[in-house]
Homo-oligomer: 415 residues x 2
């Protein structure tokens, strides 16, 4: 008998039929003898509906009240799921974040969990009940409702799993696992049975949006295995776990990509005044996210300096840079706001040379020009023209044979 | 400076425009220097929507979870109102029933308020804030959300007003006050400036559904004046207060009526076996509400016995009676399920004879047959054919000159 935390997202709870289906899945896990804590998101579309109501009143709704408003979405879905379970004679009780004691800091709309109280959870589990908890919400020290920001229900589930020392945290969603790349883009994409926390972080942050980043970080810190599963298709899903448990892996695990990027290159920056640091500082202060950064020193006294920003923040970034160019010195600015990022991810590449060269060769042979490169221990990212994303992903996927089913030996878990 | 509790019903909060309008009304009261606690219902239609969701899953939703579900309606409207007020620079905070500490008993879906904690309310009022409270909900000893049943927000408002020793509890609704009779039925109907708690109870229970009965009982026990006002039309509304404050009144205050009644007459019941008591007992046990009861003793050994039930429970009542007739004795049953009740209400009639005769004469002259009569100290009710309700109300309204504006002297309040 294990203790399992199961989280169901909004699309899994989008209709009453789906809520009934989720109830059946929870009962099936109970029938296997496991204790179950269920974390729910709001029904699909409900949070957006509530946000629209608030924004129709004012563009800057009071954050405390905004949290009170949008936290009702999860309260509706948790009680409906509990009603469905009880109607099927499965003893269940639902609780809000404040009722459980999901303590957060004071930052309304983007609160962080500080502690999950376990007394109510333990008491209800001891009674043999399924405990249903509203995701995405908590309570601050003053007793006020807080919310965790978009995707926060994943974090709620992982935090509860850690607090209860659960055996596994299962995240049910509308895809059946994590794929080598987006299957909508490439039909050859394969489901990945096991992936490390590190790889998952790299995949998640770059477009394979299956799990909320913060929840993976949290799970990683506490070694809580997460299983990504489909609510609608039965299957083992993808287990996100610590690297030591996965041996004899492929060199690379998957290919993430993101469109809607913009690249900004500055050349001829004087070395002395540290202008590149100043530029990054100023841009960050304006809350523009800088993603990739690369710097080359080709000349004696000047550096060339390239970075990317999300396309929606391109205009803002350019304005800041032009201001700095006027005030602080003269450098050349070259930009392209029609680019995309393609990233190869895999812990296997740490110990293997030649991954980058295989990738670049594949792109080169397909006639795809690389506008920028950055690398980390487990990731190589390139910037290409946005019209070439599909070709780039396909070429790299093929080059590393990600479309082939991994041999059982390779995918064996070390127990 | 006074402390005023203002309650806004669902139709007053039905759209975002209306919520903005309510915010303006609250701010107008603040601008007069008063402290304000606002109690809100769910937005119009929202509670019904949530109930439909629960009932689509099962006809017998778990009552604990049902309360968790439907209590979200008020949480949405309270936060939206607070967002609207804060956007207009009026400092406001919203609180759920549990957050305030509206302690109730354990009876989910029909809980009764046992205590209203005042610490949070006082703390927020001291900060100069408008305090917005979710109506219709509370918390039981175990910390679970409970709801008070339909119309419970009126009770929440009155209970808070009593706990805070407020100066007045204002109930904003979609009518501008309590009328001498339903203005939809009779355009001559007049708004009543002052009405006693007793009269209001008699009016409310009989079709003039402006205030929830329980809230009037509660206000009456604690001498908390209630003012019924329109959210949409400015005016003084109707003040419901204790009788001693109202002097030199009309003989009668208003005419209530209810359609959808059924009358059941039993004749030739033996006096000895106390069958009439047994019949009432048995019917009550089946949860059929009995309204009017009249008994005549025309013969030596038998009694005639007449009572009314809501029409929707007529079939159930008849089945019980026929069973008893078969088992316990033989009596004649005469029924009519196409009748209506018309009631004349007024504390003034206590000390004045001739009210009944004026009423019966007016009905007789209009050719309306009276099928049953019951009287209390401040009320005379008659049963008439349901097709004659309008004529009956009109005749009685005319006979007591309720269409005439009362002289200022008559309506003066004793201070």
């Amino acid at each position: 008998m294990a203790l399992i935390v199961q989280k169901f997202g909004g699309s899994s709870l989008g209709t009453l039929d789906r809520i009934q289906h989720v109830a059946s899945k929870v009962m099936a896990t109970r029938a296997q003898g496991h204790d179950v804590v269920v974390v729910v998101s709001a029904m699909f579309g409900e949070t957006d509906r509530l946000i629209r109501l608030a924004n129709a009143i004012t563009h800057l709704p009071d954050p405390r009240e905004y949290d009170v408003l949008i936290s009702t979405g999860e309260q509706v879905s948790m009680s409906l799921l509990s009603i469905a379970l009880n109607a099927k004679n499965c003893d269940a009780r639902s609780f809000t974040g404040p009722q459980i004691g999901i303590q957060t800091d004071d930052v309304h709309t983007k609160a962080r969990i500080q502690e999950v109280k376990t007394d109510v959870l333990q008491r209800e589990l001891k009674q043999g009940r399924v405990v249903i908890v509203a995701g995405f919400q908590g309570v601050n020290e003053a007793g006020e409702v807080t919310t965790l920001g978009r995707g926060g229900s994943d974090t709620t589930a992982v935090a509860i799993a850690i607090a209860l020392k659960a055996d596994e945290c299962q995240i049910y969603t509308d895809v059946d696992g994590v794929y080598t790349t987006d299957p909508h883009l490439l039909s050859d994409a394969m489901m990945i049975p096991h992936i490390s926390f590190e790889e998952m972080l790299e995949m998640a942050s770059m477009g394979a949006k299956v799990l909320q980043m913060r929840s993976v970080e949290l799970a990683s810190r506490h070694n809580m295995p997460i299983r990504v599963l489909s609510t609608f298709i039965d299957g083992p899903g993808t287990l996100v776990t610590f690297e030591e448990k996965i041996m004899q892996r492929r060199l690379v695990t998957g290919i993430a990509f993101s469109r809607e990027e913009a690249i900004i290159s500055l050349s001829g920056i004087s070395r002395r005044i540290g202008l590149e640091g100043l530029i990054l500082d100023r841009i960050s202060q304006e809350a523009v996210e800088i993603d990739m950064i690369a710097q080359n020193a080709t000349a004696q006294d000047t550096v060339d300096f390239t970075f990317t920003v999300p396309r929606r923040e391109y205009a803002k970034a350019i304005k800041i840079i032009e201001g700095l160019n006027k005030d602080l010195g003269s450098f050349a600015i070259k930009t392209n706001d029609k680019v995309a990022k393609v990233s190869l991810v895999g812990v296997g590449m740490k110990s293997h040379a030649g991954v980058a060269s295989t990738m670049f060769k594949a792109l080169g042979e397909t006639g795809i020009g690389i506008q920028m490169v950055t690398t980390s221990e487990i990731k190589i990212s390139v910037i290409v023209d946005e019209t070439l994303v599909e070709q780039a992903v396909k070429a790299v996927h093929q080059a590393f044979e990600l479309h082939k089913i991994p041999s059982p030996k390779q995918e064996q878990l070390v127990e």
